[in-house]
Symmetry: C2
Amino acid sequence: MSEKLCKSMSLLWGAGSPPCWRVMITLEEKRLQGYKRKLLSFQKGEHKSQEVLELNPRGQLPAFRHGDVVVNESTAACLYLENRFQSQGNRLIPDSPAEQALVFQRMMEGLTLTDRLNSVIYYDLLVPEEERHDSTLKRSKETLSTELQLWEGYLQNAPTWLGRSPWQMWSFIQTLRLLSAGRFPKLAKYYSLLKERPSIKASWPPQWMSSRQGYGVLKDL
Amino acid sequence: MSEKLCKSMSLLWGAGSPPCWRVMITLEEKRLQGYKRKLLSFQKGEHKSQEVLELNPRGQLPAFRHGDVVVNESTAACLYLENRFQSQGNRLIPDSPAEQALVFQRMMEGLTLTDRLNSVIYYDLLVPEEERHDSTLKRSKETLSTELQLWEGYLQNAPTWLGRSPWQMWSFIQTLRLLSAGRFPKLAKYYSLLKERPSIKASWPPQWMSSRQGYGVLKDL
């Protein structure tokens, strides 16, 4: 990768955002480390700043540019980077049709997992107090628990896709360490493998999990 | 496409399901018309039958198989089919990196649109009566309206991606016809173009929109 190409890449990101991290890990995996990046603060509302809105009309992070190409949705950015730099760094989408199908399948299912996780850990943040119900949160927890058991089964039956394109798992790595290893032993083992992956170590956001606010809700899962 | 290959494909589907339709349209676009398909009834709970669960542990439709490859998540199935049959039928992912980025971006954003649509039109179905709030539904409608305005803008500024990979729009085609053409003229025009697309005409589910139940909620959007 020439230095020039990397300089034509820029990423606006926020700490603790799985979509941002997904793109950063992919950049590491593709050995595109020289890009320009800028950390913005969600707390200060910097994701709604003019700088972001010019790239991303949704006012969300990541906001990613490569030359004239702007691609902000994180999975879309990962697909773009993998296709554009196929022969560089690690291949994240394998050639074999069967393996490819599995990677796409888990990549998309990973978004469902993230949604189900978010509806539990961000319940108080997303729902105004007067609209909250214990029964809603209880149901969301049950749905998340079922979802995690499904992934536990995936890891039991077909661990080969793991090393290839673990986009789907990166997005909830921060939660895995808070789950009971006893109930989800395969997920716990996978988490311990992911933690040691160079791309993940290199991009681990410094602020990530400095606060555990909101995660107590997972204790009884 | 040999008849033999098509015979190795099977699809379990449900009428009125945008994910099912997305896969069926892609099969049409790739000229894979000879596959085996079976219509199941959501009302009768057939999506939770053993036949489905063997292919799709989520008990959801579509359930799609191509030989030994099982890929059920609809966007994953579309990506798989496009990659596997790249030189057959219509190219749904263009070669140019810039166009490709745009197709991936809109494909993924289309899922957000679908989610926002579903949270309005299926509100009563998804939320038990004792947990419903007018304020929640009102906020969801505002979010949907903002989302649709965003797409209206996309159509204004960059209509070239439309013909290439309109997966993102197919998933809400049924709603476009119920929206006020006055407020969303670009979306209305796009809908009228999509309706005439051969792949869409060929796969239009017979039961689609025979009932308008739930769609009255969009009238005041």
